[in-house]
Symmetry: C2
């Protein structure tokens, strides 16, 4: 386990000297099977695997859950070790931000939609901390879940725009038995809220199925999902069908698209998304992963 | 000579494989002895030296001199070769910006003063292109002139804030015989303007001397420089005494400080700066380099 940037750099240099490649799995901790699936993917690629655990204050807005975000480093450490993480990097806020940053990253239009509308500055904070982690670890590949789809696309775009020498690998969302996307924030849910939360993935999968079966008008899919969510008493923040390329809204599903939604269940904000593939028949939903 | 990112990466990988370290000298071309002094410094450190030549549109504002910025790549190539540059990187605008960037760098307070006041967005553009060059070349050390002092401090701060794995080396300003700091923009000056332009460095050196001799009140030094510049018919944009640390204005020269000035000589904007060292006697002006 390393807590300082210099320890990480020394460790990485040693691995490089041994001819190893480096895989990075950046997390905010409170690990679940989604995080661990990223580690397994990195292991399978043959990397020495660095996992970072850092609840990044820069990506939380005022009134958000930075203070109460769940943390359990002892449990995380055991899970990481058991899954084959080679180095766990758990920096303090002071190690990552010894002073207020003068230079940060700024995300353009890609951040001014979907989750960005209710979380101004969030993706600037994400891009900044991920760039820092990339500079500290210098991984060959970095692994992110598709569950945070807008984040994934923004990080991939950051890598392209800034020529970062790293490959960003998006990995399928891991789900509970009833379809709920795994998230550290699921622990906020009361048993009753937890039951209702399953409607989110169910509505999205239903739309993905209808799309494959021939419903290619985005408005129709969005309306159907919105209705199912509202009927289940979930407060809809957005439901949106967008191009995978630039997250721009589409009218017709005639190219690689994604259907994304954010809801509130009680006080808890949940997000999820599925791939939309028009006319692909009744195939397996690509965003679903059996565990 | 390389024009593409992939050529540079292949070349750098090869040098790394041979056990070489890499030094980067980023420039906008139209090379003068200032640029070449950076190359010599990088050679002396034993690096394989990459020089980039790229007139970066992102750091020019509307109405600035992007279009007429002097370019002479054939001459630059000869000078670079003669000085021992190992790889000249001359990307096109399309190679650096294949599309409008979604993710850029943003500089805080350090950019909201001095040159930043008349050139909004300038240092964001500088930070963004330099980060890209750092990611493309992955140098061990990068060399910048002290002549663009605010730029140098912003790049050093960027490296610290974003944990970039590169060491930024600031190198002394190289000057013409009459003290004028070398700059590609000096070629804009008419013979008469060129003569008057020498007052800029002369006034700054005079203030540095007075400071060493005991004048430690910043306002007094600033006023004296302003007066000399105005008397010579130079239009003063700013004269400012700041801490080297954070470029914050000081009242007293009682720590490492810098005296910076920007003027217009006719249509041409010129900048220069000197170190302020209180009570150091009549020593050699540290910003002056004999060629």
């Amino acid at each position: 386990m390393a807590e300082s940037v210099s320890e990480v750099r020394a460790w990485v240099n040693q691995r490089r000297g041994e001819g190893r490649t480096i895989g990075l799995v950046p997390t905010m901790g409170f690990l679940h099977d989604g995080h661990l699936s990223l580690v397994k993917r990195a292991k399978a690629a043959g990397h020495a695997v660095v996992m970072s655990i850092f609840v990044n204050p820069l990506q939380f807005g005022p009134g958000e859950d930075y203070d109460r975000y769940p943390r359990d480093i002892a449990r995380d450490r055991k899970l990481a070790e058991r899954t084959g993480v080679d180095l766990l990097f758990t920096p303090s806020v002071e190690e990552m931000y010894p002073r207020a940053l003068q230079v940060t990253l700024r995300v353009g239009d890609l951040a001014n939609r979907l989750c960005g509308l209710s979380r101004p500055g969030h993706f600037d904070g994400v891009a900044t901390v991920v760039a820092k982690l990339f500079h500290i670890v210098e991984p060959d590949e970095a692994f992110f879940g598709e569950k945070d789809y807008q984040q994934l696309r923004i990080i991939q775009t950051m890598v392209e725009d800034l020529n970062l020498p790293v490959k960003v690998i998006g990995c399928p969302t891991v789900r509970e038995a009833d379809g709920l996307a795994m998230s550290s924030r699921n622990r906020y849910l009361s048993p009753e809220e937890r039951r209702r939360a399953a409607v989110l993935s169910r509505a999205l999968f239903d739309a993905a199925r209808r799309c494959r079966e021939g419903t290619t008008r985005a408005a129709e899919l969005v309306q159907s999902v919105t209705q199912q969510l509202s009927s289940a008493g979930l407060e809809v923040e957005y439901v949106s069908a967008v191009r995978e390329e630039d997250l721009g809204q589409v009218d017709q599903i005639d190219q690689p698209c994604r259907l994304l939604a954010a809801v509130r269940v009680g006080e808890t904000r949940l997000i999820d998304n599925v791939a939309l593939e028009a006319g692909k028949g009744m195939g397996h939903v690509s965003a679903y992963v059996d565990r």
